[in-house]
């Protein structure tokens, strides 16, 4: 059996990428994710990969675009302001249907904000971010083991759908240490080569063109509709979530990422006090598991959505819940992270206890 090792979140993500066959990493320093590029700068030469510290996040994402054009697995990581700078390139990648794994270790915003954990980039991640009609597959880990597993999945999904996949982490996931078990190394030579579209040199074949561009609206609409079909397929097959002690629950907490795991402690403590609480934790923020959440909340006394933002996933929760249960919301912002006790108090107050 593979060994358990105690690692930091950023390193867990980096090593998981290496094991998934990623040999290309581009990055620019920004707190709180610096340990990830630092780790990759040490690790990439060991596995004959390439690490480059770039001149900006703008350059970074375009290098990722270029590397992805060759069909090879490539990754970058950044934190909120950096991800804002990358949006143009992300849009180009989605338009050109390029696979890559992007990591946003979210910090407090807007603007320069601070460097503490936040979830305030949910809208940016799931509702667009850049210009044009596109979607990213967005994965939100709540433990380091899950982060490791989701990084592997992210590369597979990116390759499968030719679409950028975003790991939406937060400062807590980035900075904590936990034991994890890494998967076996994938040999990059056994991974999909994308010979049907990648830029590899037109040796004895017609040239390949990778682009998000076509000046002819008739053609561009066709490209758009092709994307729409792809997104529909992803929506129907790739939704992921966790259900925790929901069977007999009167109250459903909805939360993702770090708050998802903190809410598990809330569930345990509430049950010690005789309040039957369960947790619904979306793992794919896009596609969002609307249908399952709708089924679950029927007949419940209360849905309490908890987030580190002003109520971003809340909109999706409400879309799913409809009139089936009352929805309450608790937020911390600016890098503040609530304790389980604090959330439990809110829960009791909402229930009038």
């Amino acid at each position: 059996m593979a060994e358990r090792v105690l690692v930091k979140g950023t390193e867990a993500i980096g090593e998981a990428a290496v094991r998934a066959g990623c040999r290309l990493f581009f990055g620019y320093p920004i707190t709180p994710q610096n340990e990830l590029p630092e780790y990759m700068s040490k690790r990439m030469p060991e596995v004959n990969g390439s690490f480059l510290q770039t001149e900006s996040e703008v350059a970074t994402i375009n290098m990722v675009y270029g590397a992805a054009c060759t069909g090879r697995r490539v990754m970058t990581s950044t934190s909120s302001p950096g991800f804002s700078l990358m949006q143009e390139g992300v849009s180009y990648m989605a338009g050109a249907q390029l696979p890559a794994v992007l990591v946003n270790v979210v910090r407090g915003g807007p603007g320069l904000g601070d460097i503490q954990p936040a979830q305030s980039d949910y809208w940016q991640a799931t509702k667009g971010g850049g210009h044009g009609d596109y979607k990213l597959i967005v994965l939100a880990p709540s433990t380091l083991q899950e982060a490791v597993d989701l990084v592997s999945l992210a590369f597979d999904l990116a390759d499968k759908y030719r679409n950028p996949v975003l790991i939406l982490a937060d400062g807590v996931i980035g900075q904590i240490m936990e034991p994890v078990t890494f998967p076996e190394f994938k040999d990059p030579n056994t991974l999909p080569k994308h010979d049907d579209w990648a830029l590899q040199g037109a040796i004895g074949r017609e040239k390949h063109v990778v682009t998000s561009f076509d000046i002819d609206p008739v053609v561009l609409e066709k490209m758009n509709l092709e994307l729409v079909e792809k997104f529909k397929k992803i929506e129907s097959t790739e939704k992921r979530w966790e259900e925790y002690k929901l069977d007999d629950a009167d109250v459903v907490i909805t939360a993702f990422g770090t708050i998802g795991r903190i809410s598990k402690s809330v569930v345990t403590r509430a049950r010690q006090e005789g309040i039957k609480v369960g947790l619904f934790r979306p793992i794919t923020l896009w596609p969002f598991p609307y249908k399952r959440l709708e089924e679950i909340v029927k007949g419940k006394k209360l849905v309490l959505d908890v987030e580190l933002n002003m109520g971003q996933m809340l909109e999706d929760v409400k879309l799913a819940v409809k009139d089936n249960a009352p929805v309450a919301f608790y937020k911390r912002m600016g890098g503040m992270v609530p304790t389980p006790e604090e959330i439990l108090d809110v829960l009791k107050m909402e229930l009038g206890r």
């Binding site: 290309l24 703008v58 350059a59 270029g66 992805a68 060759t70 390139g89 590899q200």
Partner: protein, 251 residues
């Protein structure tokens, strides 16, 4: 009497007809690049990175694998490709708005890293695609759609000298400024472009050729006058020459 082929379309160009305006020198620059790719025998391992601007259609004209970069980011995209596949030959083709304004950071840093790519920089002192606005390379006093009274240093700053800036970075293996408004100049430009590709193929570093070009449409001149205007006005501001040459003599 047997016919002999003395001139033909380079294999590195597609059948697609150029869509450039009459008298525009993009066509000449394209052909020179294609001839060099043919001569070096690298068409099948070349990746074209097109820009945003008039030459956004470069991906259609070059008969190589190709992509289109975001405005100004072609050197970053080319870097990504080259880092993923160092065995490929990667070049960017960029205008002065793309390279000298929005893409200033990317070109300087690609050059400074000695990125083993080649950049063809078309300097015609104006934004073409968007309708003749001021470029960073627009000459003082020159009228454009956003400098209707002529470029004024006090308000708009000065014509930017990209090659002179790039020259100062240590990663450059070949760098020249050429023009393509006479047959002799075209031949010189071809030699420079070949060396700029050899710089990457020999693993020496970054290669760039700044090509002084015309834009008769947005300059408001007929093609012949535009060629003359280039000599009279652009060359004094942008002196021709080879700034860096680590490639040495061609075989």
């Amino acid at each position: 009497m047997a016919m002999q082929i003395i001139q033909k379309k380079p294999e590195s160009l597609t059948e697609k007809e150029f869509t450039y305006c009459p008298g525009c020198t993009h066509g000449i620059a394209h052909r020179l690049v294609a001839e060099v790719l043919d001569e070096l025998g690298v068409r099948e391992k070349t990746i074209t990175v097109g820009p945003v601007g008039c030459s956004v259609f470069a991906y259609q004209f070059f008969n190589t694998d190709a992509t289109v970069a975001a405005h100004g980011r072609a050197p970053a995209v080319a870097t990504g490709i080259k880092r993923a596949r160092p065995d490929l030959c990667v070049f960017t083709y960029q205008g002065d708005g793309d390279l000298a304004a929005i893409g200033t950071a990317e070109i300087i840093h690609a050059a400074n890293r000695g990125e083993k790519i080649t950049t063809i920089f078309i300097n015609n002192a104006i934004y073409g695609m968007t309708g003749g606005q001021m470029a960073p390379t627009t000459l003082l006093g020159m009228k454009t759609t956003t400098t209707p009274y002529g470029r004024n240093a006090n308000n708009d700053g000065y014509p930017i000298h990209v090659s002179e800036m790039v020259k100062e970075t240590k990663g450059v293996a070949f760098l020249a400024r050429v023009k393509i408004n006479t047959p002799q100049d075209v031949q010189k430009a071809r030699k420079a472009i070949k060396k700029a590709f050899l710089a990457q193929l020999k693993g020496l570093g970054f290669g760039m050729v700044e090509v002084l070009s015309t834009c008769p449409t947005n300059w408001g001149l007929d093609p012949a006058s535009a060629l003359k205007w280039l000599d009279e006005h652009m060359v004094p501001e942008y002196p021709l020459g080879v700034f860096v040459d680590k490639v040495g003599e061609e075989q």
